[in-house]
Subunit: 170 residues, 2 copies
DNA sequence: TTGGAAAGTCAACAAGACTGACATAAAATC
DNA sequence: GATTTTATGTCAGTCTTGTTGACTTTCCAA
């Protein structure tokens, strides 16, 4: 971690000289950290026989209430058939409500029911707890760096969803 | 990102005050970044009809040549039956070699063949390229912070594998 | 020497991704 | 008004990758 050397170049630009070994460490850190990151919600979901796909749907419906199926598809990056199976179950279990669109009646507006919100809270509390603990242990400068690198690692077209906090539609 | 305030507390300890919104951003950053992180290898794997599980096996066999199935299991965190299916295919495709252990004949020592190494190179080159680009764009301090937060986010018992670079066994 | 534990294999099943085809309703366009 | 496009939903089939359960081989210790 602290063996990545930096060199000052004319001006105030600096380059990182990264060995394959340092990059491998970063790659594995990503792998192990993501496992930790999903571990707590996974445990909760398993009780109700849901999977990560349900978690993702619930998360983004919570984040953007009234979002359409198409919107959700482009954020999640899965096929409609795949999402449909998940949504169907969430709807029939009474966690998600699907209402015919007001302007465009072809669309469906999705939102969480009371029990949907309650599951979302359980899941995000668990995930936030871990994130908060990690942030606190690492300190504020580390957090800023963490966010910066993650953002650079995203695909360009996904970064769009990331930077659109309150309305999913472009 | 830069709205996380820090407060100096008696001594030189500082606390982060994190709003749910800031934590949510971190959670989504993790989600989108991980997608980017796996996107390039996924494309390569798809050509040869392999999945992420094959990638992980190839990666860790490369990292720790001669490792046993059991070792690999504890790193990957899946059941031996699940891993076995993946290994069986890699072996029959001639990417991995499995040799009966010399001391303990119950064990199998795994290593990549020449074509296994070649696939590993293709995959890790793609992944390193993205990681390197992100690191360069974010800068050295950001990278240090990134690594610090990721390490804090891992499960304790997984951190062990992370910090054991050249031999998988405890 | 025998009985249990450990390492690995085989079989069967489930979740969740995928493709492809098709249906319906509403909106947009010609 | 007729046609095409869009948004959504569904059925069927495939693939990867996770699971549990049952089994073999090997090792070790009582």
């Amino acid at each position: 971690m602290n063996d990545a050397r930096t060199v000052e170049i004319a001006g105030n630009e600096n380059l990182l000289f990264l060995t394959d070994e340092q990059l491998r460490k970063g790659i594995e850190a990503m792998f192990f950290a993501y496992r930790g990151f999903t571990a707590d919600p996974d445990k909760i979901l398993d009780d109700q026989k849901y999977g990560r796909a349900h978690h993702r749907a619930v998360h983004f419906i919570h984040r953007t209430p009234g979002t359409t199926v198409n919107n959700l598809l482009s954020v999640l990056g899965v096929t409609k058939q795949s999402l449909n199976r998940v949504l169907r179950r969430l709807i029939s279990d009474g966690l998600v409500e699907s209402k015919v669109g007001t302007q465009d009646k072809r669309e469906r507006n999705l939102q969480l029911t009371v029990s949907g919100e309650s599951l979302e809270q359980k899941l995000s509390n668990a995930q936030r707890r871990r994130m908060r603990t990690a942030y606190r242990a690492a300190g504020p400068e580390a957090v800023a760096g963490f966010r910066k690198v993650l953002e650079e690692m995203m695909d360009r077209d996904l970064r769009r969803h990331f930077n659109a906090p309150k309305e999913g539609r472009e």
